[in-house]
């Protein structure tokens, strides 16, 4: 046993192992390259591309959603404003209608009252006139009857004259 001899063979590459390593290595390069590395690398690449694409599409979907949300908000705001406007307009219209109705009613009422008043006045006047006429008739009849009774005898005529004369004196 000689260590120096073994040491020499340790750093001296053997032709057999060189040959078999070269053969195996080249075979392995070709076979692994064709049946392992090519499908594995392309699969990993496909997946990575897929992930990149998925991330990008997720990002764009998020953006779309954000846009959609802001759109929705804008539309909602517009709708809200429109509603407010509509309500306001309706309220105004209502007020206007009420006011108009009120003023119309007032006018009508005034007109009715006025005409009623006029009618009343007319009726009253007619009644008064009639009353006056009746009073006049009655007065004439009364006066006729009184005159008839008063002037039925001489004494009564004389008494009357004296009475009248008393009054005159009192005055």
């Amino acid at each position: 046993m000689n260590s120096l001899f073994i040491l020499a063979s340790l750093i001296e590459p053997g032709i057999g192992l060189i040959f078999w390593t070269a053969v195996t290595f080249i075979l392995l390069l070709v076979l692994l390259g064709k049946y392992a590395w090519k499908p594995i690398l392309s699969a990993i690449k496909t997946r990575e591309d897929g992930i990149t694409k998925a991330l990008a599409s997720a990002e764009s979907a998020l953006n779309d959603m954000r846009e959609l949300k802001s759109n929705n908000e804008r539309i909602l705001n517009e709708a809200r404003n429109e509603r407010d406007n509509l309500i306001k307009e309706a309220r105004d219209a209502k007020d206007a209608i009420i006011n108009e109705a009120k003023s119309k009613a007032q006018k009508d009422a005034d007109r009715i009252i006025a005409s009623a008043r006029e009618q009343i006045t007319n009726e009253k006047n007619a009644a008064v006139t009639e009353l006056k006429n009746q009073v006049a008739t009655l007065s004439i009849e009364i006066a006729e009857k009184i005159l008839r009774s008063e002037l039925s005898s001489d004494e009564k005529q004389k008494a009357l004259v004296s009475n009248l004369m008393k009054d005159v004196n009192l005055n």
Binding site: E12, I15, I44
Partner: protein, 388 residues
């Protein structure tokens, strides 16, 4: 831990030389009292055991020693002057000292320290059919001619196994993608391996190479997982030390070297042969740059080999402490330390696979870098142009 102890024990046994010493070594483990009695007779060469543990072998040794050793025989393939010779490693009858001759195709072979030589006609004084020369420094040289050894050794077997495991594992993962579709979350093996694949693709390839990294990703993935799986396999007791073998790392770094230089663009080569420096120092700079082309993959080769081999040597040395001190009481310390180193080695397994792949992609990145992309460099060029 038990396995580690057992493994070191079996290695130690197989490392022992002549048969008369083997029994006493077994006794050294059984009880240290007998061993200490024999201490003067035999010292244990832990360094040799450690080196043998990390070296390649022609059979997959499991346990036992000498002729009783249990090992999985592996095919021996030799390229000789008489053509290709093949036989099973079991025909050496576990001999690694050149004492057993195997005759095939009219040629005679011996196995000496897991190297195969053509046997001499007659044995020497140690019974070895070899002509071994020792110089003054104690270095031995075997003078016998050696055939080219293309054997399916322990390391080659593990390489094949790891390649099959990798292929089955990743094709099943690929199938899972096909079956489950690409939109579903990864499951099981997929969820463990996908982050590693994506890590290599994004943090190693894309970061270091730049926009055209895609075509290098399959190469980087293969390198990363081949190193990683063999680093991890190497930590399993009874397994081979493939990534700690310089031949294996040599091939991988040559791959990096070739890939880097065939993809080198105009800018890369102009940086080497037309450096941005005064022409007077070009004779110094150009050789340095050219040398740099080679040193980069060379450093890759040494780094991986040395890191993995060193880890294995440390573990075997810590276990070896028990036999050096010849005391059972040192065992808890050895076991604790080797457990710690083992866990560290798991980290190193991932780290070295990462570093090798990262540096490979860095070198490729430097070779394919587009100077127009590099604003700083452009400014530097203009600055130099103004200076000239």
């Amino acid at each position: 831990m038990v396995f580690a102890l057992f493994f070191s024990f079996s290695l130690k046994i197989s490392a022992s030389e002549p048969t008369e010493h083997e029994t006493e070594e077994q006794q050294a483990v059984v009880g240290h009292e007998e061993a200490s009695a024999e201490k003067s007779k035999k010292g244990l060469d832990i360094a040799a055991i450690a080196f043998e543990h990390i070296l390649d072998a022609h059979s997959w040794h499991l346990f036992g020693d000498g002729h009783d050793a249990v090992a999985i025989p592996l095919p021996v393939i030799l390229k000789t002057d008489n053509g290709i010779v093949t036989f099973m490693s079991s025909e050496f009858h576990h001999d690694v000292h050149g004492t057993h001759v195997v005759e095939k195709n009219g040629l005679r072979f011996v196995n000496y320290e897991e190297s195969i030589y053509l046997a001499s006609e007659t044995p020497n004084e140690h019974g070895q059919y070899l002509n071994i020369e020792k110089n003054d420094k104690g270095e031995t040289t075997v003078l016998n001619p050696a055939p080219l050894d293309f054997s399916i050794t322990k390391n080659v077997t593990q390489l094949f196994l790891s390649a099959i495991v990798l292929f089955l594992l990743f094709t099943s993962v690929a199938k899972a993608y096909k079956k489950q579709g690409v939109t579903s979350a990864p499951k099981g093996k997929q969820s463990f391996l996908e982050p590693l694949i994506v890590f290599v693709r994004d943090d190693l390839a894309k970061t270091n190479i730049g926009p055209n990294s895609e075509k290098f990703v399959p190469y980087l993935l293969t390198v990363f997982f081949l190193i990683l799986i063999n680093n991890i396999f190497g930590l399993i007791p009874f397994s081979a030390n493939l990534t700690g073998n310089i031949a294996f790392t040599l091939v991988l770094s040559v791959g990096t070297f070739i890939l880097t230089n065939i993809n080198g663009n105009k800018h890369y080569w102009s940086h080497i042969f037309l450096p941005h420096a005064p022409k007077a120092i070009w004779p110094i700079l150009i050789p340095i740059e050219v040398f740099g082309i080679l040193t980069k993959p060379f450093a890759l080769m040494i780094r991986l080999f040395a890191n993995i081999a060193a880890g294995h040597i440390i573990i075997i040395s810590l276990i070896g402490l028990i036999f050096i001190f010849e005391s059972i009481y040192i065992a808890p310390v050895s076991v604790a330390f080797s457990l710690f180193i083992d866990i560290l080695e798991v980290l190193v397994a991932f780290l070295q696979a990462y570093i090798f792949t990262m540096l490979t992609s860095l070198f490729i990145g430097a070779a394919v870098a587009d100077p127009h992309d590099d604003g700083a460099h452009k400014n530097e060029d203009e600055h130099l142009a103004v200076k000239h």
